[in-house]
Symmetry: C2
Subunit: 422 residues, 2 copies
């Protein structure tokens, strides 16, 4: 007997027929003798509908009341799933965020989970009940309803799994796992049977949108084994695995002597490039740039600073989310007297392409391979950043698909050609 | 300063623009210095949508989970109204059923309110906040969500008004008050400025669907002054009143020396007629008919039993809701050996027409006037029942409108012809 958390996203819960499909998957785990808690999202489109109501009510809505409104979407699907489960003979009940309770901070609309009381949940599971838990929602001190921010149901699932010491947290979604890169760009992208938390964090945050980044961070901290798999497709890979398992470093190293150096290639077109020309080259200069941006809650990603010109000034290039560009330029203009730059340049026709893999820690030459592969195709690199398990470059966005394909091949990630059965 | 409960139905809450209209009405009462609690329904159509989800999930849905699903409709509108109120400068917050809490029985899907804790509510009102409370919902022991049954928001409003000792409970709806009869049948029907609880009970239960019957009974028991008025129309009657005030007998008698004998004419086409022919005329015979019907939760309304035939048997006629007719016939057929009737007749082309008024208590001849007026037009009476403040007759449904018009005139209820300003 294992304890399992199963999480189903909005596409999987969109309408009663799909909820029946979900219920059958849950029944399958129950029939196998497992204790099961299910975390559900609202029906696809429902949260948008509710958010739009709030915005229409007032652009400056009270986030406490916003939470009351938007939490209802998951309340509906959790009740419906409990009904459908009962109708196929599975003992089930819903547990709303305030009923367990799932205690959160009072940062309404983007609350963080503080603790989950498991006394009632444990008793329910021990009695053979499936617990159906609405994702995304919780309760702050003072018994107010909270929500975790968009995509928060993944985080709810991992938090429930951690609290109930689940053996596994299965995240059912509309793709069948994590791929070496976007299969729409590289048809020969391969599904990964395992990735590490760190790799998943890099892959998710740079554009492989399978799982909410925050939930991966929580899974890593709480050592929750997470599996991403499809609600709609039961196919298994050559090794008999379904989906992609996200685990700690140790589990990967053990099992795969011939582990790939690079796990995947990600890309992200949501960044804009900003260059401050002729910033005085003196101690503290960089702080004068990034402190006001941080104060405005603008997230800066890549930062490149070259050595000083002979004139005693330097150029500083960095990226910010495209949606924040106008605000960032405004902040910089206001801070110009303090920073003392000559002029500011910006561009939105850029893309960040990254190679990710824990294997690169122990291998030199990963970055060199990347630069050479791109140079061979005449792709100009505008900026570079590296972390322990990632190398990212900023390139002109027209070259995105070419760059991803070239790198996917260069690191030996292409699947073998499919053999067509005669 | 007064304490006021304002209740808005689904039509009044259907969409943000209408919620803004509601918010302006609330602000008006707040600006007049009143302490205000608002009870809201779900948006028109929303509860049907949620109920249909449950039915589609399973015709035999668990009512505990049904309650989780359908309670969400009012949760949404209460959050939205709080947001809109804040946007026009009114301090407001929502209080969900479990937050106050509104404690109910555990009869899920048709729970009864047991008690409302007012400590938090009183503190909130005293602090100048408008309390926005979702109607229809509550919490049973064990912290499960309950709902009160369709139309339950009226009952929520009256219960909140009783608990907070409100000076008045204003029920805003899509009509501007209670009329002497259905204005679609009698264009010269008059809006009543006051009716008694008892009259309202009779008018509501026989077809004047302005206010849920159950809420009127609660208002009578708790002595809550209820006013029914329009969300969309601010017009006042000749006496300067808006809507219709529902009050105790005492308040009526005081104010109106020349009170009408009859308050209104109601009709109800939802009843079917059943006649059991040749039931043995012996003690206990009637019990053998109505006990099995009661056991099957079939509500019997009019009952007519004539004196026995010379053969030692009698015919018993009664009415049941049309929706229950097939089931009633089935119950009777199964009980035939016990009851011992010869055959059963039924008809659905019937209508119950009633004249209602507390004034009839002290006046003879009300029933006679009714029978004569109907006879003059050749309308045949199939059954009669009377209560202290009501006389009802069952007639063929084709004559419904004619009968209502004839009676409206016979009791002097017609409004004077409107004078057209030159």
């Amino acid at each position: 007997m294992a304890r399992i958390v199963m999480k189903f996203g909005g596409t999987s819960m969109a309408g009663i027929e799909r909820i029946r499909n979900v219920a059958n998957r849950v029944k399958h785990e129950v029939d196998a003798g497992n204790q099961v808690a299910v975390v559900v999202s609202a029906m696809a489109g429902e949260t948008d509908r509710l958010v739009n109501f709030c915005r229409e009510a007032s652009p400056l809505y009270d986030p406490r009341e916003y939470d009351v409104v938007v939490a209802s979407g998951e309340q509906v699907t959790s009740g419906l799933l409990a009904i459908v489960l009962q109708s196929i003979g599975v003992n089930a009940r819903s547990w709303l965020g305030w009923q367990l309770p799932i205690r959160t901070s009072d940062a309404h609309a983007s609350a963080r989970i503080a603790a989950i009381d498991t006394a009632a949940l444990d008793a329910s599971l021990a009695a053979g009940e499936v617990a159906v838990i609405p994702g995304f929602q919780g309760m702050a001190d003072g018994d107010r309803v909270t929500t975790l921010g968009r995509g928060g149901s993944d985080t709810s699932a991992v938090a429930v799994a951690a609290a109930m010491k689940a053996d596994r947290c299965d995240i059912y979604t509309d793709v069948d796992g994590v791929y070496t890169t976007d299969p729409r760009i590289v048809p020969r992208a391969r599904k990964l049977s395992r990735v590490t938390y760190e790799e998943m964090l890099e892959l998710a945050s740079v554009g492989a949108k399978v799982l909410q980044t925050r939930s991966v961070g929580l899974a890593m901290k709480e050592k929750v084994r997470v599996r991403v798999l499809s609600s709609f497709d039961d196919s298994r890979d050559d090794d008999g695995h379904r989906g992609t398992l996200i685990v700690g470093d140790d589990e990967i190293e053990e099992g795969s002597m011939e582990r790939q150096l690079i796990t995947g290639i990600a890309h992200d077109k949501n960044e804009a490039k900003v260059t401050l020309v002729a910033v005085p080259d003196r101690p503290g200069a960089v702080a004068t740039i990034f402190t006001p941006l941080a104060d405005a809650s603008i997230n800066v990603d890549m930062i490149v600073q070259n050595i000083a010109h002979e004139t005693g000034s330097t150029d500083v290039t960095f990226t910010v989310p495209k949606a924040e560009l106008a605000r960032a330029l405004d902040v910089l203009e206001k801070a110009r007297p303090t920073i003392g730059f000559e002029r500011v340049l910006h561009a939105t026709n850029v893309c960040k392409v990254s190679v990710v893999g824990v294997g690169m820690r122990s291998h030199a030459g990963v970055a060199a391979t990347m630069f050479k592969a791109l140079a061979d195709r005449g792709i100009n690199i505008q900026a570079i950043t590296t972390s322990e398990i990632k190398v990212s470059v900023l390139i002109e966005d027209d070259y995105t698909e070419l760059a991803v394909r070239v790198l996917h091949t260069a690191y030996g990630l292409d699947a073998e050609e499919e053999t067509v059965d005669a």
